[in-house]
């Protein structure tokens, strides 16, 4: 991606933050954990041209990381915002953001410990269920006390891998859940592969997240990976939705299949993303997809020196 495009997007993202230390779901809105963590990751993952934008971006990442520390609860988790302390599915994003910002290692360890203590409801009704997946595999829920779903599980796996826990039992279980929820025809959705015998439809963003979480832990020619990547190659040219483009493009990059036209798609997507109300996250997703260090910051590519390492005994 051109440095000038990256620089303009950095400036744009910084301008959407005001007046607080974090980012809201809307420009200038009250800060929320998810867009703040995403924006910090996005700024840290790409390099603007040297100068003011670069300095301001570094400062903004540090400020965001401190605000996320303020949002951390006594047990290590983070909620949605200062007012909404639950649910706490944003915790993996904070772990990744702190790791990207550097520092806050103790807060990262505490968040990781909380994450390891969480699991979705694995209760299976006595009667036969119409679902195609194995609900007994422990993953992560969106909301504590409910079932495990694909995206929170994939986000947790990425955060744990970034924290150096690639071989932890929980990380491996998360990967097992992801494999189990794959749709036979290729790809993933929110987490149901079949219901009443019908194959459900895949979606690009969950597919991208799943493929990122499995990167390096699966053979590239496995049917699961091939079909997932094939699905992304087929669907991504039809969309300019930033979230889908982000995780779809990053997943194909991780598996050595980044589309040649990826940068052009991101540039096109930017023009439509600004129209929508949650343009902060959309801009952050586009920057993440363009970032040269994103795969490292997401724990997909190993870079153990900059991650908050957690020993098994810490958890």
């Amino acid at each position: 991606m051109h440095d000038s495009w990256i620089t303009r997007r950095h400036r744009e993202l910084l301008s959407l933050r005001q007046p607080g230390p974090g980012w809201g779901n809307r420009p200038g809105g009250q800060p929320y954990v998810e867009p703040t963590a995403l924006a910090a990751l996005a700024l840290a993952a790409s390099d603007p041209e040297p100068g003011n934008a670069a300095r301001q971006s570094r400062a903004a990442v540090a400020t965001a990381a401190r605000w996320l520390v303020d949002m951390q609860q006594s047990d290590g988790a983070l909620g949605i915002s200062a007012d909404l302390t639950k649910p706490r599915w944003t915790t993996p994003l904070a772990i990744l953001a702190w790791s990207a910002a550097g520092g806050a290692a103790e807060h990262g360890r505490k968040a990781v410990a909380w994450l390891l203590s969480q699991r979705g409801d694995t209760g299976v009704p006595a009667e036969a269920t119409p679902y195609g997946h194995d609900a007994r595999i422990p993953g992560w829920p969106w909301v504590e006390g409910t079932h495990s779903w694909l995206e929170p599980t994939a986000m947790a796996v990425l955060a744990l891998r970034r924290a150096g826990l690639s071989h932890d039992e929980r990380t491996l279980d998360g990967m097992r859940l992801i494999r189990d929820r794959a749709i036979r025809t290729g790809g993933w959705n929110y987490g149901n592969s079949t219901v009443f015998g019908s194959d459900l439809r895949p979606q690009p963003a969950p597919t991208g997240l799943a493929l990122l979480a499995l990167a390096g832990a699966e053979e590239s020619d496995s049917l699961l990976i091939e079909r997932g990547c094939d699905y992304l190659e087929q669907i991504l040219p039809t969309t300019r939705a930033p979230l889908s483009l982000c995780f779809g493009t990053l997943a194909l990059t991780a598996w050595g299949r980044r589309p040649h036209e990826a940068d052009d798609c991101l540039i096109e997507a930017h023009s439509s993303a600004a129209r929508r109300s949650n343009s902060v996250s959309q801009l952050a997703y586009l920057l993440l997809a363009a970032g040269s260090r994103t795969l490292t910051l997401l724990g997909v590519v190993d870079d153990s020196h900059s991650a908050p390492q957690v020993k098994k005994s810490d958890s």
Binding site: N25, G29, Q30, Y32, E34, I80, L84, P87, W89, D121, P130, P141, W142, V143, G145, T146, H147, W149, E151, P152, N189, Y190, V195, F196, S198, L200, R201, Q203, P204, A205, T238, T239, R240, A241, P242, L243, S244, S272, A273, R275, R276, S277, N278, S281, Q282
Partner: protein, 366 residues
């Protein structure tokens, strides 16, 4: 017309709990609600004779009346605006009801499905409602959704075709999954949820319209204007899918949410509905109808009949009877097309699970 949550300061207003109980069974006895026995005993002591109690029970909807307009609609063409105009006028709605109002339209966008447009409310119907309400001098009309199966709102809008309509007609869109939220006490308490978290967009609106697709639903039986309200619940609080509501009970959640949001109008897209394994994997069902009404249970009960269902076999409709509206045919004033002339049989999958919604007759009658 009952006020909605949108009218401002709604959080402390009681829901319209003119409790009268369902026709069959009991409502949520575990949470202290009245049982059939309670009602009969109470009525008996009031009137002194058991017969009076029976009268009360059988006429649970006695004080509830509603009108529903059903229109035959062949296609999603420009004539939709005139059809809606006629229907709403018949229901007593017009310029005086919409003038100066801030309107929120809540279509049903479940998930992206380019190859299955019958999953989502057709964009042409959304466009027609916006056009008519602007003609009637609404201050503004926004489209709002918090879809449950896909976190990427931009992708859903794009793939459903709604984005193009929003852009061409300069219609604002609010992502309810990511709006600021407020909480209210869950006063109906069909579920164990003590509070409900709702998007601020509902408070900003004066007039809320549920704009669902007419579909079968493998858990609820049918999904219409009441079930469509799952989509106002913010994903940041309830997840994708909104599994908290599944755990709380889908039917019970439908009732609590309907009582909390209290939309002013329902317009059901049955031009091409969905039968079979709805709400996402079923087959297109050209039913060629649009149903309108200000009382959601009455509209949904009418649509259920149009689809070949007895509303009293649909758990949440049965429990809404008398509590949120009438569902008995004799309490619903039918306007527009006669039901018998436009009714279609919406098939269900041939699986034992679906028998609860229609007895043994899951497939089309011979």
């Amino acid at each position: 017309m009952e006020p909605s949550i949108a009218s401002g300061g709604a959080s402390n207003r009681p829901v319209p709990l003119e409790f009268a109980g369902p026709r069959q069974g009991s409502i949520d006895t575990a949470r202290g609600r009245l049982t059939r026995r309670d009602l009969l005993v109470g009525a008996g002591s009031l009137f002194g004779v058991a017969g009076a109690g029976k009268w009360f029970w059988d006429d649970a909807e006695h004080f509830r009346r509603a009108s529903v307009f059903v229109a035959r609609v062949e296609t999603y063409g420009p004539e939709l605006v005139d059809i809606l105009h006629r229907g709403l006028t018949e229901l007593g709605l017009g310029r005086s009801a919409l003038r100066g109002k801030s309107v929120l339209l809540k279509p049903n966008l479940v998930e992206p499905a380019v190859d299955a447009p019958h999953v989502n409310t057709h964009p042409a119907l959304v466009r027609a409602v916006v056009e008519l309400f602007h003609r009637w001098d609404a201050r503004d009309v926004v489209v709002a959704e918090g879809q449950g199966h896909c976190r990427d709102t931009a992708f859903v809008l794009e793939q459903s075709g709604l984005e193009r309509v929003l852009d061409e007609d300069h219609i604002s869109f609010v992502d309810l999954n990511y709006d600021d939220v407020f909480s209210i006490d869950n006063r109906l308490r069909f579920t164990a949820l003590s509070k409900l978290y709702l998007p601020q967009a509902l408070r900003r609106a004066d007039f809320i319209v549920s704009l669902p697709k007419m579909k079968t639903h493998h858990w609820a039986g049918v999904t219409l204007s009441m079930k469509n309200l799952f989509g106002v619940m913010p994903g940041v609080c309830y997840g994708w899918p909104k599994n908290v509501l599944h755990h709380a009970g889908i039917g019970r959640s439908i009732l609590d949410i309907t009582a909390a949001v209290r939309p002013h109008l329902a317009i059901v897209d049955g031009v091409i509905g969905m039968e079979g394994d709805g709400p996402i994997m079923g087959q297109a069902k050209p039913a060629h109808v649009v149903a309108l009404g200000v009382n959601l249970p009455a509209v949904d009960a009418t649509c259920a009949r149009l689809m070949g269902f007895d509303p009293f076999r649909i758990d949440y409709l049965r429990n809404a009877s008398g509590v949120l509206g009438p569902i008995q045919e004799r309490h619903i004033e039918q306007r527009g097309e006669a039901l018998s002339s436009v009714a279609q049989f919406f098939a269900l999958p041939d699986h034992p699970h679906f028998k609860q919604f229609r007895g043994t007759q899951s497939m089309a009658p011979s």
